[in-house]
Amino acid sequence: MAATTLAPPPAAEDTFLDSNELVLNMGPQHPSTHGVLRVILKLDGERVLGADCVIGYLHRGVEKIAENRTYQQFAPYVDRMDYVAAVSNGLGYCMAVEKLLDVEIPPRAQAVRVILTEVNRIASHLLWLGTHALDIGAITPVFLCFREREEALKIFENYCGARLTTHAFRIGGLQYETYDRFEEDCLAFCDLMEEKVKEYHALLTGNRIWVKRTKGVGILNAEDCKNYGVTGPLLRAAGVEWDLRKAQPYSGYDKYDFDVPTAESGDTFDRYIVRMQEMGQSCRIIRQAVGAIPEGPIKGKVGKVIKPPPGEAYVSIEAPKGELGYYVVSDGSLNPYRVRVRPPSFVNLGALDKMCRGTLVADVVAIIGTIDIVLGEVDR
């Protein structure tokens, strides 16, 4: 069925002496596909001639659920899309509805939102690093990464009472005031991370096996990135300095001083370096934000019943995996008329075929890992 979308088979004279062509299913139960992704590979021996993704094994109809829920009621569901970065999802959805309502968010709420989103970015990158390294064959990083990720999840648990599907933000601001040791915990987490990133570098960056497995693998240059709509660390690793936090600042990101890490060649190693540097930049943002949390209310002027005027709003934020967009249409009733999500991993996964062609089967594992997909978000 899906194999029809692959490149047409070569002419008969080309395949006369070459009977090595093979169509192979990778997944949906393959551990390196990070969930339930099925990749149909067309192989010539070990070499990949084409790859075709079959998605939908984790489809839960989140966008349709939104049409039967009120605006507040839908907020917990967005956490279940990219469950590794639930806080970013919540931020994007809340900002889209706030744009519909045209409400002002108090500066205190904005600062806390930035801190939690950046902690979540580090937590997401830690999970990516651990599993990506595990796929390629390095076992130690996954244990170290989960150890540090625990500290990030403890911040979420203390702040809002949940570790993974946080439901941290509400439309109009925040529900919870920061807890007593919030600032100290965040700063301690930054200290910890800045030290531990060095440890990860010692484990991987110079390691000859890691370099051989990642350098020059899965190259996606800037032109292809733009053609495929690829965003996030993949785009930045190709040398395009595009970060929505800088390009169209939201939630007060223009107040913080940070760099957008980029790299040159757009291969797997560069994407690894970019994400490692992003963790450091996130620490920088957290430090600045924690030092200057303004006093004041945590919720804007939003009523108990949210009933936006008819209209539509699109808000996109820089999630850990790329541009995360929420398009919300209101018909003036209590429920959204339509919610459409632009998930970064889904769009980035589209470039898998382009990146896989000509590589080896073992590199496909590295490439899936480097795209950093979460199937909950791809399938929604």
Binding site: R69, Q72, Q73, F74, A75, P76, Y77, T140, F143, L144, R147, E150, K154, E157, N158, Y159, C160, G161, A162, T165, H167, Q175, Y176, Y179, E199, A202, L203, L204, G206, N207, R208, I209
Partner: protein, 151 residues
């Protein structure tokens, strides 16, 4: 030349191995010995629901306003009440909470105007039947009994 020596001496690999080795006997052990030791959860942890009683009179705090049932995205709360002829208030008769469908988002807790419904720090809610997941008023007021483990 220096690179060649480094390649032969395996410095890059030894550096990684040393990092692994340094973590062999960690000063801070993060592994939790559950169920021998139950982990402490955060104060704001959203766990098993509870319907609070007044600490002195032991009467329910719930005023049967039905706001929690309206706030719930999964519509898993059912509140019934009857009008008290004397006080003209609504008296709670039954309160049903389907924990099996709950995603612990905390919206019901936020909606409650009198802090009667609360998500507590209890997290051991497993049952052998699906019906056991549907909690009635008595279960909500008493809370889940802590599991006894036999070793």
């Amino acid at each position: 030349m220096a690179n060649l020596i480094k390649t032969f001496l395996l410095t890059d690999l030894l550096k990684g191995l040393w990092t692994t080795f340094k973590n062999q006997a960690p000063s801070k052990v993060v592994t939790e010995q559950y169920p021998l030791v139950r982990p402490p959860v955060a104060e704001r942890y959203r766990g098993a629901p509870r319907l609070n009683n007044h600490p002195e009179t032991q009467e329910t705090l719930c005023i049967s306003c039905n706001l929690c049932a309206l706030a719930c995205p999964e519509q898993l709360i059912v509140v019934t009440s009857e009008r008290n002829k004397v006080t003209k208030r609504k008296d709670l008769t039954t309160f049903t909470y389907d924990v099996s469908r709950c995603m612990f988002c905390g919206l019901c807790e936020d909606a409650c105007p009198v802090d009667a419904l609360e998500l507590t720090q209890d997290f051991e809610m497993a049952t052998y039947t699906r019906e056991g997941q549907i909690w009635d008023r008595q279960m909500l007021e008493e809370g889940p009994l802590p599991s006894q483990y036999t070793h």
